[in-house]
């Protein structure tokens, strides 16, 4: 592994077997407008539709090589998060296949696994296990996780008493130390105070340089361009670009302008 030293300049992509293979995947969601008998009757009487469906993803294929860091870009509702959920296994595709090599873990909304009634210490173990770590692994990394989060003093306090910043720091710290083979990061870098955000980005860079496969969704284009090997641009559930990350970033910028103009 010689590549990872000057990734930011050279964008040299590490070679290796595919880690994530998304093949011709489609996902359709049904939005139900009415659930109760009363709502259904009212809607039927007014001749309104009971539900509508939309394609969150439309024949998307994507291959991510082991060690590659890929930015997923697109406006809200373009299917980025759905794609990450399919790769993490939370959802299954309606058509096509998703396959991965190794363990997938993600920062899909940090803090989902934290329980407010448990202490910080208990949450490290619980959330670590939820993200796929074994007991021995958590014990080994416990000190690192706590140190990174900076909540040592409140470790035996219930998480419900944490400030939102502390909560996020703990959650990110646990997730960032799970060391999965494939790491999914969904819009979590927008949270936290600037110094901690820098720390998070540094950690992600570290993970990248260790040769971990990563897929990142964020709204900070310069950061993504700096971090990622490759950019994938989605528009209304279709992949419209896959290649140079700066190019994908400018496509996204154009989409944003077009949207705010309309």
């Amino acid at each position: 592994m010689t590549a990872p030293t000057d990734l930011s300049e050279g964008k040299r992509v590490p070679g290796g077997p595919p880690a994530v293979v998304v093949e011709d995947v489609s996902k359709r969601f049904t939005l139900r407008h009415a659930r109760s008998i009363k709502d259904i009757t009212v809607r039927l009487a007014r001749r309104q539709a009971l539900s509508e469906s939309f394609d969150a993803l439309h024949h998307v294929s994507l291959t991510v090589t082991q060690g590659e860091t890929v930015a997923l870009m697109g406006l809200n509702g373009s299917g980025k998060s759905t794609l990450l959920k399919l790769i993490s296994g939370v959802m299954s595709p309606d058509a096509g296949t998703v396959r991965v090599r190794g363990r997938v873990a993600g920062l899909l909304d940090v803090g989902a696994g934290l329980h407010p009634e448990l202490t910080g210490r208990e949450n490290v173990f619980l959330n670590g296990a939820i993200l796929g770590m074994s007991e021995a692994e958590i014990k080994r990394k416990f000190d690192t996780i706590v140190e990174f989060s900076g909540v040592e003093r409140f470790l035996d306090t219930e998480v419900k008493f944490y400030s939102s910043g502390m909560f996020m720091r703990l959650a990110f710290s646990i997730a960032a130390h799970t060391e999965p083979d494939i790491f999914l990061i969904d819009e979590v870098l927008a949270v936290g105070d600037p110094p901690f955000r820098e720390k998070c980005i540094a950690r992600i860079r570290e993970l990248r340089d260790e040769g971990r496969t990563m897929l990142i969704v964020a709204h900070d284009i310069p950061m993504l361009v700096d971090l990622c090997h490759r950019g994938v641009m989605l528009r209304r559930g279709r992949k419209i670009y896959d290649g140079d990350v700066a190019e994908a970033g400018s496509l996204w910028q154009a989409d944003k302008k077009a949207k705010s103009a309309s």
Binding site: P17, T63, G89, G113
Partner: protein, 315 residues
């Protein structure tokens, strides 16, 4: 080596954007399809996955127990209060005021041996039914074997059941009960029937609740009737004497009826004075109840495993 792999690997995906959009890349398809290390990120479902996640199950159990009684003075003590109040109400109303005390010898033991099983069943089923929906944030964000949640519900109920069982044994001993081999073995089978039946139904109802929230209400209402549909406050002979024969036969098909009778056989039977004859064909009905519970268990597991793929998008 490095250069070669760099050229072979992602260069093609990196430099050739938007060309083969929509159509799968066949060269790659053939290669990756043969790669055994590539697997689907979602599990197949099924309770075997829970076995692989034992450590997480243990932590979830601990979380449930801690979170439920957090901030209360009595803590886990509340799990004793509920059956104690239940017992007192049934004992005084049905036993003393309505005279069941005189019909059934050692009525407190008769009542309590049924009550512990009924409580185990209703508690498991009610909390399992809620378990998936109440963990919606997790189910939506992280892939976990979703069977973990109903399984944790069952374990919580079993944790509550054990001290109740200890009290039952102590109470029976104080009434002069001595264990018999068949009695204890029968009670163990009765417990197994309840566990399998409750977990199977719990998996079914938990999955159904995700799609129709009404199921939660239905389960709550049905649970109100359980104490009265099993021979817990009355002997089986009352059903024989007051209901038509076909109704008795249907009533006896309920696996819970057999399970409660097995507990009576184990803990109250040796104390009985014979005024209430032992229920007929208990062995045969035990086999059928166990079969029925197993059937529900397998159906529940299979249905849950199938439906869990759609949980995240339905919540």
């Amino acid at each position: 080596m490095t250069t070669a792999s760099q050229n072979a690997g992602p260069a093609s995906t990196g430099r050739a954007p938007a060309v083969q959009l929509g159509s799968p890349r066949h060269g790659r398809t053939v290669r990756t399809a043969a790669d055994p290390e590539l697997r689907s990120p979602a599990g197949r479902g099924g309770l075997m996955e829970v076995v692989h996640h034992r450590y997480l199950l243990k932590l979830l159990l601990r979380r449930e127990l801690k979170a439920r009684y957090k901030g209360s003075l009595l803590g886990l003590g509340w799990s004793y209060v509920r059956p104690a109040v239940n017992f007192a109400v049934f004992y005084f109303v049905v036993g003393v005021f309505m005279g069941m005390d005189k019909v059934i010898k050692d009525f407190p033991i008769y009542l309590f041996s049924g009550l512990v099983l009924v409580t185990l069943f209703t508690e498991t089923l009610q909390s399992a039914t809620r378990s998936v929906l109440h963990n919606a944030p997790l189910v939506r964000k992280v892939y976990l074997p979703r069977e973990l949640f109903p399984s944790a519900s069952l374990l919580v109920s079993l944790v509550h059941f054990l001290p109740a069982l200890a009290i039952l044994v102590a109470g029976a001993l104080s009434y002069g009960w001595r264990p018999t081999l068949t009695g204890v073995a029968g009670a163990a089978v009765g417990l197994l029937i309840v566990v399998l039946f409750a977990l199977g139904l719990g998996l079914l109802c938990a999955a159904a609740t995700v799609f129709f929230h009404d199921v939660e209400q239905v389960v709550d209402i049905v649970m109100l009737t359980i104490s009265w549909t099993v021979p817990m406050v009355y002997p089986w002979t009352h059903v024989r004497d007051h209901a038509p024969r076909w109704l008795l036969q249907i009533w006896q098909l309920n696996p819970l009826v057999s399970a409660v009778e097995l507990f009576h056989h184990g803990f109250w039977g040796p104390l009985s004075d014979g005024r209430i004859p032992p229920p007929p064909a208990l062995t045969a009905r035990t086999v059928s109840a166990l079969g029925c519970a197993l059937m529900f268990f397998f159906i529940g597991e299979a249905v849950f495993a199938r439906l869990q793929r759609r949980f995240a998008q339905e919540m």
